[in-house]
Assembly symmetry: D2
Homo-oligomer: 328 residues x 4
């Protein structure tokens, strides 16, 4: 028989993402609603090992739904990659009589959660929180929608300058393995070309495309490049290469960087986080464990953590075609 959960802990781990606070708030409030006790773990797995654990109640999470970052803080923990580290973490969970752990983060965080679950038979549930949208088993991850808006707003600003000066801008956006940000923000910002990790177009194709753009009457251009782009050149080298081989353009490079992780979450991310926080608590109450809650076609779903950790099958074809057509 499944032991009923009574005390739930929650932590955020890995890179922070807008909406993490909304997810914590939702976990805390769902615990309060269902008369469970909730504990916040500070600094991710590092804090779990160091015992930085405090009770949270419904009022602890007031006025945080609109804030970027995570008030529980996050960290990458080397210690948690060792058995000793995880043992200490488990000891601390037991010390506070915690029955289950909710982990908000990306694949690195879920790998840790899975180990805790396997080694100590400890109930864990994952909530996908990362701007990269690179988790299998969910349509969207928390923070992704906000990051898209941040990128698009930044490129809107850069386009003011690009079109005032007839310039070509190369703009690097986040996405080491996943082109979701580059592709969607590229379409949204009206980019002429988009380079993503899943597809190696080669530098020559880019040059050809830019030449065609010029012929078609475009006087300025935006090229969006995911940081994981496979062209073999970093964005500055790419800029120099184009400058050498394409006449009549002034080239500028902009690396958007860390602004993409922050900011007040979009409404979508706040609602998604609210749904998944409730969903995670309810899953634990139903006796579920070693799963991730996600969103599939607007409905909260559950997949095994192992599935969440599988490689996502990219289906970018439709979007790539839309990008090609709308940048004519």
């Amino acid at each position: 028989m499944i032991k009923k959960v009574k005390n739930i802990a929650v932590l955020t781990s890995g890179g922070d993402a807008p909406g993490m606070n909304a997810a914590i708030r939702s976990v805390v409030r769902a615990c309060s609603y269902y008369n469970l006790n909730c504990f916040g773990v500070y600094k991710g797995y590092e804090g779990l090992i160091n015992g930085e654990i405090e009770p949270l109640n419904a009022r602890s999470v007031r006025n945080i739904i609109n804030r970027g970052g995570t008030f529980l803080k996050s960290a990458r923990s080397k210690a948690f990659r060792t058995v000793e580290g995880r043992q200490k973490a488990h000891d601390n969970l037991k010390k506070h009589n915690i029955d289950a752990l909710i982990v908000i983060g990306g694949d690195g965080s879920f790998t840790g959660a899975l180990k805790l679950s396997k080694e100590f038979d400890f109930p864990v549930v994952g909530i996908p929180g990362t701007i990269d949208n690179d988790i299998n088993g969910t349509d969207y991850t928390i923070g992704y929608d906000t990051a898209l808006n941040t990128v698009v707003e930044a490129i809107d600003k850069i386009r003011d300058t690009a079109s005032s000066h007839n310039r070509l801008f190369l703009i690097e956006v986040m996405g080491r393995d996943a082109g979701d940000i580059a592709l969607n923000a590229g379409i949204g910002a009206g980019a002429e070309e988009i380079l993503i990790p899943e597809e190696d177009l080669g530098v020559e194709r880019l040059l050809d495309s830019l030449k065609r753009s010029k012929v078609s009457g475009k006087t300025s251009s935006i090229v969006v490049v995911a940081e994981g782009d496979k062209s073999g050149k970093n964005i500055f080298e790419l800029g120099e290469y184009i400058e050498e081989h394409l006449q009549g353009y002034e080239i500028r490079v902009s690396v958007l960087g860390h602004i993409q992780r922050g900011g007040a979450p979009s409404c979508y991310d706040r609602v998604l986080a609210s749904k998944l926080g409730v969903g995670a608590v309810e899953a634990l109450m139903d006796g579920k464990r070693e799963i991730m809650v996600g969103i599939v076609h607007k409905t909260v779903t559950q997949v095994p953590l192992t599935t969440a950790l599988e490689k996502r099958i990219h289906k970018h074809d439709q979007l790539i075609k839309v990008a090609d057509i709308t940048s004519v």
Copy 2:
């Protein structure tokens, strides 16, 4: 045999919505990509009747993807509700050798499109563009996501004041028949209560809930009210009623109004509009007519215009529960 389309016209109709420009741009660029001619009709059906029709090419729509409103302008047309009006409209379409019409708008616009299709056997395709998200057969309408962000940002600002003064704010948002904006923006903004047209909670339940909120330690409160709320009181009357029956709160009323229709579209709306614009042109090329293109689980789909005009079955239960839980 289906006659191949060669000349496509596009218009925007009804209330404007952020992302309409992105949709027009996508239609125009898709025509260019597929070597079709594209015509823009100004001022919706009114302009169709008056012959305000101009050719558009790929460069006509540069630098508009980020702009709210619609550069083709929109209008409500009484004349188009008459047979004579529609006859003139059809005459003008013929005069320009236009083979098909793409209508970007809401249900009123689609009703007009359907009549044109039925009466003159003229190919029409609809694209759902309205902030209300009240169209059947599509997960989202263009402009809805942007409106949610606008509402949430406005309420974030009001919450600054609410929590500085320990006040109760009643905030009216758009949504005459659909509670989608109120419900999602209410959750996203951390509202304590949300009143929607689909559900009549009664004023007493609201009072009870606000009393409980106070007891639970809340010192300020946000109540989001859809304009189509069925409580029988307008928002100012509601405010007075609460003030009379609930002690210790200062009540303030705010009607967000027209700011909800404008603003730079969110990335989501720009991408959605880009997909649907391409989808509409491709549907016409495939010989489809009297349909609406929509988005269902991230994929562009087609439904008969008659289906789009049917009453949407609301599935707000899951969200209402999330709202109840997270406002604990």
Copy 3:
């Protein structure tokens, strides 16, 4: 000889304004820098009477410079208008050995401060914090610049709809006695007409101007109306009147309301608040009392509180002319 101040209290009073948190932070940090003790009073004068006073240190005010509202909260206090109330307030100040009080607020707050100073010979310094910019002796008040941006962004959104539909919008902005917001935001938003409390143009002049606008080719119009406008009609009556007397326009009314008080402060307001917070503490250290610190031509200045409470001489002529010219 002047007694050296050692313990300073700070409170926010009246309507909240963006940048109040930045001002509190600056007061607290300046106290820390100069080795003074700082106390925060919650809920303005009400909290002073009720003894809601707590020590603050440099770390108490971390991460608040970017937040709207005031974390010390604000309130209007009836009790403080009585001698008994002020006596209690003074008793509480003495109980905590507080030597001086810094009041962040508008003219109502300064009136209270002046009474405290006169009746108990208690050192007070005022910092002008109100979005209305209606305080004598300072070029700008804290929160005003942010409110201007909020208004202009809101009208930008409404203009999307106005120009999409060829409509005339009447937009009410804050400013009961001062037209500063209406005039500056009106120019900034490209309004066709601006109605301010300091000037009664009469409804007829407005009608004439709108007629001329139409003749000159304008297809949509924005009229900005300060809430204190002296036309004798409220904004809804004004809308009806225009609708009756001006053909060919659809009229819409929008009351911007409380969003104008909130939001993250602009850079200008944060820097201004930082300067004035430091300036207030340094003034007390210099033995100054019964003064307001303000900004005049980018320099922190001091004026007697009585001067701050005098009627400001409006110098709107230059701006009114700019408004007339740029709305041609």
Copy 4:
């Protein structure tokens, strides 16, 4: 006797700045108001040489007050640095019967304007438009206030991540010779340290300060670095140096780059641009030439172009002290 101006041309030159469109609009509308003819020159001096000149009327500039960049486009012109280039430019002005030229830009643009004035006795008036605020004889340049807000909003986002991860961020902002952006945005964003070109603190002082910050309990830090900083290290080298010499911090570097030049102008910049545009036209009507219009203590003023080109005397002392105190 001074010849009355009848035909005025306007151009934007050098780096674009938010508010340039508002300035052009104001020049055009002022010409319309005073019954003068106005001509727009495209692409700065380059377009003047190439004869890219077109008449503008009051309706040509509708709906641009809120747009970043410059619709007249800008460019840096090598040809204009030669006598032959300027001769051609002058010929084109004469060909269109243009009596006077208004140049919106920074010091490079004014140097060119001065040459045109001297060599051909041609009336020119400058309007200071640059985000750097580095022009002598005016309190503010157009675009500067907007850039400050852009920087502060970007750092607010980065701070979300910084405080979630206990990190130290080095953030590079624009300002090759002027620390105005770094200093004001640094204070506004709550930076712990600010490095500006006008002051060489040395890397050691920075290290000391960061060590003190840690001791005082700060868990994350923002250091703002102007691009013209004189520390002798670029920002990446600076980051590595700190990482080597300061334990317990993860260092991250972010170069804000071109987003700082774009975006919808703030209300302040729109009003400033509107005032200066009117002021420039009125100055020409008064027979003024070889001057720049600027803003001094809220009033439009005129200084000789030669004065505008003198080195500005920096008065950062007061602000540096405020920065030191508020970052305690």
